[in-house]
């Protein structure tokens, strides 16, 4: 194996085309050992295609993939023993019990009987499925299936874990438990490659984040550096005592240097490049006979970066995913 210093995952000019669609267009990035790397982008941006190429479920048209310095583009199978994969669907065997699914997955990696039985018991307890271990996977709830799928992905103690939308469409408690598991895995030194459409999830879990749009990796950086770019922008949210929409045009007329938009029913978002004094805004609403219930200065978030980089509202992606994936767990 290569020295410890080399990146756990190194991707260079990776490209994949399906017919007329350029799914991934020459992306280059590295993921360091023990790093939690978030891979964000709108639907159809190329996230799953990238994971499929990295894990050996799709063949790249061009580019290079290396694990721990060892190039294996033409034969990712050589590196499959290093990785665990949790796909976007909980694809275990419905006719096996939770316990049997884990044990079976362990045998695929050549684990001995004693080791796999011990590991299955340990993980079933860790994901809170000890009491459901003897039940068929087909009878599990969505959250239970997801937790078992993650347990199956880490049965063989992989050094690199790929997770494709791990908390999509599951209840809040299960999503929270999964996030906690990921934090613990990251702390234990597992390299994690995570795709998610929950921006807050990426914000909370990831050391670095890459944005992919139309198959192109538009930026990769730490959360701190990504949001720093937006720190020069000032955003204020004003919660009104009535509908915000009807004030947008008058506000724009009165304050031409400020960008206004209605957010939700009663919130006005004001954005400007310079510091924004609140008194004139509040006075404006007093003149209109409207109460300002709350005024909040907003710090730039990853969601703001996402919207700026992708040009797609994060809320829209979340809704699209949840409509496709059932009831959402939220972040």
């Amino acid at each position: 194996m290569a020295p410890e210093t080399s990146a756990a995952i190194a991707v260079e000019s990776l490209a994949k085309r399906y017919g007329d669609v350029q799914a991934v267009a020459g992306i280059t990035f590295e993921v360091g050992g023990g790093e939690v790397f978030g891979f964000l982008g709108p639907n159809g941006a190329g996230k799953t295609t990238t994971i499929n190429m990295l894990t050996g479920l799709a063949r790249p048209d061009s580019g290079r993939i290396s694990y721990h310095g060892q190039e294996c583009t033409a034969d990712v199978k050589r590196a499959q023993h290093l990785m665990g994969v949790v796909p976007d669907e909980s694809n275990l065997w419905p006719e096996l019990t939770g316990h049997d699914n884990l044990v079976f997955c362990a045998t695929l990696y050549g684990m001995t009987r004693r080791d796999r039985e011990e590991r299955a018991r340990e993980l079933l307890a860790a994901v809170g499925l000890k009491d459901a271990a003897g039940r068929l996977f087909a009878g599990y709830s969505k959250g239970m299936k997801r937790k078992l799928a993650i347990a199956a992905g880490i049965m063989h103690r992989p050094g690199i874990l790929f997770l494709d939308e791990p908390t999509t469409g599951i209840d809040v408690a299960s999503a929270r438990q999964i996030r906690q598991m990921l934090v613990e895995l990251g702390a234990a030194g597992t390299t994690i490659f995570l795709t998610t459409h929950y921006i807050e999830e990426a914000e909370r879990l990831c050391d670095r984040i890459g944005f992919i749009v139309d198959g192109r990796l538009v930026c990769v950086d730490t959360l701190e550096n990504l949001t720093r770019e937006l720190e020069g922008r000032h955003v204020v949210h004003l919660t009104l005592g009535s509908d915000a929409g009807r004030f947008i045009e008058p506000l724009r007329a009165r304050f031409p240097n400020v960008a206004f938009e209605a957010v939700g029913g009663c919130v006005v978002r004001a954005r400007t490049a310079a510091a924004l004094p609140l008194a004139p805004l509040i006075r404006f609403f007093e003149e209109q006979g409207v109460d300002v219930m709350e005024a909040r200065v907003m710090r730039p978030s990853l969601e703001d970066v996402f919207v700026r980089v992708t040009g797609v509202a994060a809320e829209r992606i979340r809704k699209e995913k949840e409509q496709g994936g059932g009831k959402g767990g939220g972040a």
Binding site: G56, L57, H81, M83, P87, N91, W93, E95, L108, Y109
Partner: protein
């Protein structure tokens, strides 16, 4: 060693979850019984003639059993995406596909001996070349299973796989020499007949049971082994082209 742990595990799981289920076992018993009864109803022959139809019933039992099993197991797992987990496992694709097919091969070959067991109660089976019968059953089971695999890879749904299977199975049944001797088929159909592994399997079984083979045993065996290799290689290529695209 690790690869073989995975191989046995896949084989054992498939046996437990798919092959050794009551519908499969009852199919393995009812199917040959139904074919035998159909023959007697049609010809009005007695039990003494069982020996003449035994190779045909064995061949059909293997063909229909194995191709149906693969159509269900592989297509079902592909649709449920659990097959992706197998593709992500660090085992060579060749070993994986052998593991997925070994259960069907074993059950197919075992099913072929159900009509033999039935026949043993009704007629004298002395003079049967048993080793040749076993070889024929195993080789035919392997080639039929690999044919089933090839079809299953092309299908997206279980019903599609079953329908595609019939496009192969029925021409094979009518052109393999079971109902009409190959020599009596129209000249333009004979090459097609010789392209089917079932033709050689049936001939080998005829040779083993009644010593009425039309071709030398080594030729039947070689043709069956060749078809197994070709179908397996084509199946692997199809998996790589379609599922690891």
């Amino acid at each position: 060693m690790k690869t073989w742990i995975a191989f046995w595990s896949i084989l054992r799981k498939d046996m437990r979850t798919y092959y050794l289920k009551p519908p499969n076992i009852s199919w393995g018993i009812i199917f040959p019984l139904a074919w035998t009864l159909m023959f007697f109803v049609k010809t009005g022959a007695g039990f003494g003639d069982i020996r003449s139809i035994l190779p045909g019933v064995m061949a059909l039992t293997i063909l229909f059993g194995t191709t149906s099993m693969l159509a269900v197991t592989v297509t079902f797992e592909k649709k449920g995406r659990s097959f992706e987990r197998l593709l992500l496992a660090p085992i060579p694709l060749e070993v994986l596909m052998l593991a997925k097919t070994s259960g069907a091969i074993a059950i197919g070959a075992a099913n072929a001996f159900v009509p033999v067991a039935m026949a043993a109660f009704c007629t004298d089976l002395s003079g049967v070349t048993w080793w040749q019968m076993v070889c024929a059953a195993v080789l035919l089971s392997v080639s039929s299973t690999f044919l089933g695999l090839f079809i299953a890879i092309a299908a997206r749904e279980v019903f599609e796989a079953q329908t595609f299977s019939n496009f192969f199975r029925f021409p094979m049944v009518f052109l393999c020499g079971l109902f009409f001797p190959v020599a009596k088929l129209p000249v333009f159909l004979r090459p097609l007949s010789y392209a089917f592994p079932l033709t050689y399997g049936t001939d080998l079984l005829h040779g083993a049971v009644n010593r009425t083979a039309q071709m030398p045993g080594w030729l039947d065996g070689a043709a069956l082994a060749g078809s197994c290799a070709v179908l397996f290689v084509f199946s692997l290529r199809a998996v790589r082209r379609k599922w690891i695209a």
